[in-house]
């Protein structure tokens, strides 16, 4: 941008001038008029991406809706194998991570480097905790023969139809988990840059955009939780997940 590259004589046409330009924020790209405009463009772009994600999960949930409408009894029956307590814990953890993410964005907005770093660390820890709990749940499902496929065994009526619910369970939570892993990687990169002081009230766009992504992943879980864990009326007898 402000580098003084030497242009060989004769390379420019007659009368051409090498222009200088006004001093500007180092993070402002040249095709934008102002930081404001650049931020708005990034904001719009991120939302556009999130809309495609809404269609992505929307389609998957639409398929779930069809099958649940077709086999309501089978789907309800599977809820006794879902660990409602781990699911609730994970929901609380994820919503907590959304809080810390929002606070990270806020810290960047007010120029607090330590606040940004600490809140990003908190978000990463909570996100990782969610994934660890998910790992335990997947392991339980594997051990109980509830992973769809040749080893699937189901004690209850309508085993084939119940297997559909488990297909949706792994597809939906698996996709969600992949998004979480991507999010954790993104946040780790942000943490690295934040510790170097790359963000300020004048430029915190990457944190805001990653925040939008992270909140969206939380949104998806807010819908997955009742649809996968809270299908049937649960009894207080803990039979799920063990």
């Amino acid at each position: 941008m402000s580098s003084a590259t030497q242009i060989p004589p004769g390379a420019l046409p007659e009368g051409a001038q090498q222009g200088h330009h006004e001093a500007h924020h180092p993070n402002l790209l040249h095709h934008f008029n102002s930081m404001e405009q650049q931020f708005e463009a990034s904001h719009m772009g991120m939302w556009l991406f999130l809309l495609t994600e809404i269609m992505f999960f929307g389609g998957a949930l639409g398929a779930y809706t069809i099958y649940r409408a077709m086999y309501p009894a089978a789907f309800e029956d599977t809820s006794r194998y879902m660990d409602i307590y781990l699911g609730t814990l994970n929901t609380a953890v994820l919503i907590g991570s959304s809080l810390t993410m929002a606070l990270a964005v806020r810290a960047a907005q007010v120029g607090s480097r330590s606040g940004t770093v600490n809140m990003l660390i908190a978000t990463i820890i909570l996100g990782t905790a969610f994934l660890v709990v998910k790992g335990f749940e997947y392991h339980h499902k594997w051990v109980e023969h509830h992973v769809p496929g040749p080893n699937f065994i189901y004690e209850g009526p309508f085993a084939r139809q119940a297997e559909m619910l488990f297909c949706f369970y792994f597809a939906l939570t698996g996709l969600h988990a992949v998004h979480m892993v991507i999010g954790v990687v993104l946040l780790s990169w942000l943490l690295y840059k934040a510790r170097q002081g790359a963000y300020s009230p004048a430029y915190y766009t990457p944190i805001e955009m990653s925040g939008l992504y992270w909140h969206f992943v939380d949104l998806v879980w807010i819908f997955l939780f009742p649809l996968l864990y809270l299908i049937g009326p649960n009894s207080l007898v803990v039979g799920g997940g063990h």
Partner: protein, 107 residues
């Protein structure tokens, strides 16, 4: 176009929203232990939509965003609605018309 660049939300607001979300989560879990028949699903979805709205408006700053952002989101939800609605209509209307059994040779 109002931007989100300059709008700093107080920490207290974020924490309040978080606490409301926790209460709603506890409610939706508690309701599961009561058999209300078809109402269970309706209540669960209503609570989920409320939680989602809170996250979108406050954590994602949409409350302080431009009308264009809000339009984007609403249009995505409409598109999603069309997807689910018409797919459902397809399934629901199967077997409404008589199926041909077999071919008959012309005489």
């Amino acid at each position: 176009m109002e931007s989100t660049t300059h709008h700093v939300v107080p920490t207290r607001n974020y924490v309040t929203i978080f606490l409301i979300l926790m209460v709603l989560t506890a409610t939706t879990v508690a309701v599961t232990f009561v058999d209300l028949g078809p109402l269970n699903l309706i209540i669960a979805l209503a609570i989920a939509v409320t939680k989602a709205t809170l996250v979108v408006l406050f954590f994602m700053h949409v409350k302080y965003s431009s009308a264009l952002t809000k339009l984007f989101i609403i249009s995505a939800l409409i598109m999603c609605g069309i997807l689910v609605l018409l797919t459902g209509a397809d399934y629901i209307s199967r077997n409404w018309l008589p199926q041909p059994e077999q071919w008959e040779a012309n005489q």
